[in-house]
Amino acid sequence: MSDARNLREIRAIIARHKLGDMIFLVTGLLVLMIAVLTFIALFSHMLIDGLPRLSWDFFTSFPSRRPGSAGILSAWVGTTLVMIVTAAAAVPLGIGAGIYLEEYAPKNILTEIIEINVTNLAGVPSIIYGLLALSLFVHQLGFGQSILSAGLALALLILPIVIVATREAIRAIPVTIREGAYALGATKWQTVSDHLLPYSAAGILTGIIIGLARAIGETAPIITIGALTFIAFLPPSPFKEEFPYISFEWLMAPFTVMPIQMFNWVSRPEEAFQVNAAAAGLVLVVMTLTMNALAIYLRYRMRKNLKW
């Protein structure tokens, strides 16, 4: 009798615990749904508000006092130019630092300090980079509130992302590749440049794309260096008629970027401007999502067909 009762009790306990499992399963799915639904709500809200506003004119007009004729020409040109500066600064620095930490760095205090620094920099709020750029680039080095200052500020911001991606990509290459190269008499740099860099290129590229996607959406540091929000002209063209055909005047030009343009429109009370903000936000989200999706796809490809 008591055995049967025990069995019943045990079965009840099992049923209770299984119920707990089920409840958590449902909760987990629900929470995941909330996160995804929020994103869908965000995107559709912007789509409904902004899509009617998107037209060719929106991309080819300057911002204006009249919301109906305002556009994002100066904003997307500014974003493109700032990204060129950011990539030009962050890519060589990030890859170089990644290679050094992974392949060259001896085990000593200095290396440890550098590693701790890279980790800590990733946790510094972005607006602090803006303050650094304001004090260092804008005032001390005299770059002014220019494309150069903004690009460098964002480059510092995404540097840890590029470094970490480079390190992970290089670390994934088996040591046999290096030993093969050394056995043939290659120097360290020859090994790195001829073998490690080509093999890790996809991983590094993923990191660069994620970093640049982050930089495109970053608003706070650029506001902090004092970028103007109302720019109704383009920076000087990088191409010239006469020798040397390329000019770098645009580096020093005042500018605006997509997120700042959007922020400016959001903070206006008129509803018509908020429609503009939705349209600009839509362009911005599509840009960053495309880049992120590209990076995720690249990583997926890499995981699927590993070469060794």
Partner: protein
């Protein structure tokens, strides 16, 4: 400015950096090869004395030297991160020091008003700190439970296909620009909340915090999930063998085993929330307000910096210096959390 820096294996790198004209000269030498110290750069200039008996040696020598040069160059790129940290600290401290010449530290920490741009200027950081704390608290109340549940679900419960789809989706969610989240908080979440709480003002810490929380979920969940997946399978199997259910295993075996990683994820979430700028600048208003009520509008430290930067304050004025004092406060707050996280990681690290 001259840096004397030790480079590996007893070598030394002397880097003389004249910051104004960016004139960089690098001299490399090792203590065992003092004579080489006299070699002039660039090495290619020595190509002319390519005599037959020493050419092999010269080749090796050049090769060695160019290798050292490349190593030094790579070291400099790695050292940039240290330089950035030093520059951040130096910049914040020097600008704040000139701020504290005008304002006493006591006033900064205890005054309950922050009105540096008014005629009757008060410099109390408390209203900004309270705004930051309240908005971060709301965000974390959303992000930590939801992030943890998502992480447990993805790591312990979700079938393979769900995980393969959900992880990239969450990652995309983390990639949305913060200014877009600000727009969403102001024009979607606030009207929605106003239907539930009709007395909610147009700007509030609550809606900014809620959206910030949703925004932080991907950071918390992906890092916590990574930590939980690193817990070896045999611990789970042991737990299942004892008759524990999945949920019991997740909560009593996997989570304690991954505690240091999960703590790091929470700390990351906290620093994100404290340092987040655009959502609060757009949706929480920019009026410094000493309050602990999330239903009120208030400015955070970051929102204040944005507000000042939008105006055009002259370089060197007291208003200009206030943003650096505010920035220093912000950095110190995140630093405290990072140190706590570091200690937690050290204390609870499990090695498998």
């Amino acid at each position: 400015m001259i840096f004397w820096l030790a480079v590996g294996r007893g070598g030394f790198l002397v880097c003389e950096w004249l910051s104004r004209n960016c004139n960089i000269s690098i001299i490399l030498f090792r203590p065992s090869q003092w004579s080489h110290f006299k070699v002039q750069f660039p090495v290619t200039a020595r190509r002319s004395d390519n005599t037959s008996d020493s050419s092999a040696l010269g080749y090796n020598y050049r090769r060695h030297l160019s290798e050292r040069f490349i190593e030094a160059l790579l070291f400099l790129t790695a050292f940039v991160s240290v330089a950035i940290t030093l520059a951040i600290v130096a910049m914040l401290v020097t600008e704040s020091l000139s701020f504290f010449e005008h304002v006493s530290l006591w006033e900064f920490l205890t005054d309950t008003q922050w009105t540096p741009l008014f005629d009757n200027a008060h410099y109390g950081i408390l209203p900004l700190v309270s705004g930051t704390v309240v908005s971060s608290a709301v965000a974390l109340l959303v992000a930590i439970p939801m992030g943890s549940i998502t992480a447990i679900y993805l790591s312990e419960f979700a079938p393979f296909t769900v995980r393969e789809v959900a992880k990239p989706c969450l990652e995309l969610l983390g990639g949305v620009p913060t200014v877009v989240y600000g727009y969403f908080a102001l024009l979607f979440v606030t009207p929605l909340l106003q239907k539930i709480f009709p007395e909610l003002p147009g700007f509030s810490l609550l809606s900014a915090g809620l959206v910030m929380g949703i925004m932080i979920i991907p950071y918390v969940s992906s890092m916590a999930e990574d930590a939980m997946r690193a817990v070896p399978m045999h611990l789970r199997e042991g737990s299942y063998a004892m008759g524990a259910t999945r949920f019991q295993t997740a909560v009593r075996v996997v989570m304690p085993g991954a505690f240091s990683g999960i703590a790091a994820a929470y700390i990351l979430g906290i620093s994100r929330a404290v340092g987040e700028t655009m959502v609060v600048a757009i949706a929480a208003g920019m009026q410094p307000n000493l309050t602990w009520n999330p239903m009120e509008p208030a400015a955070t430290i970051t929102a204040y910096i944005v507000q000042v930067s939008l105006g055009d304050l002259p370089h060197g004025s007291i208003g200009y210096q206030t943003i650096f004092a505010a920035g220093l406060t912000l950095l110190l707050i995140t630093l405290v959390f990072n140190i706590i996280g570091h200690l937690l990681r050290k204390r609870f690290r499990e090695v498998y």
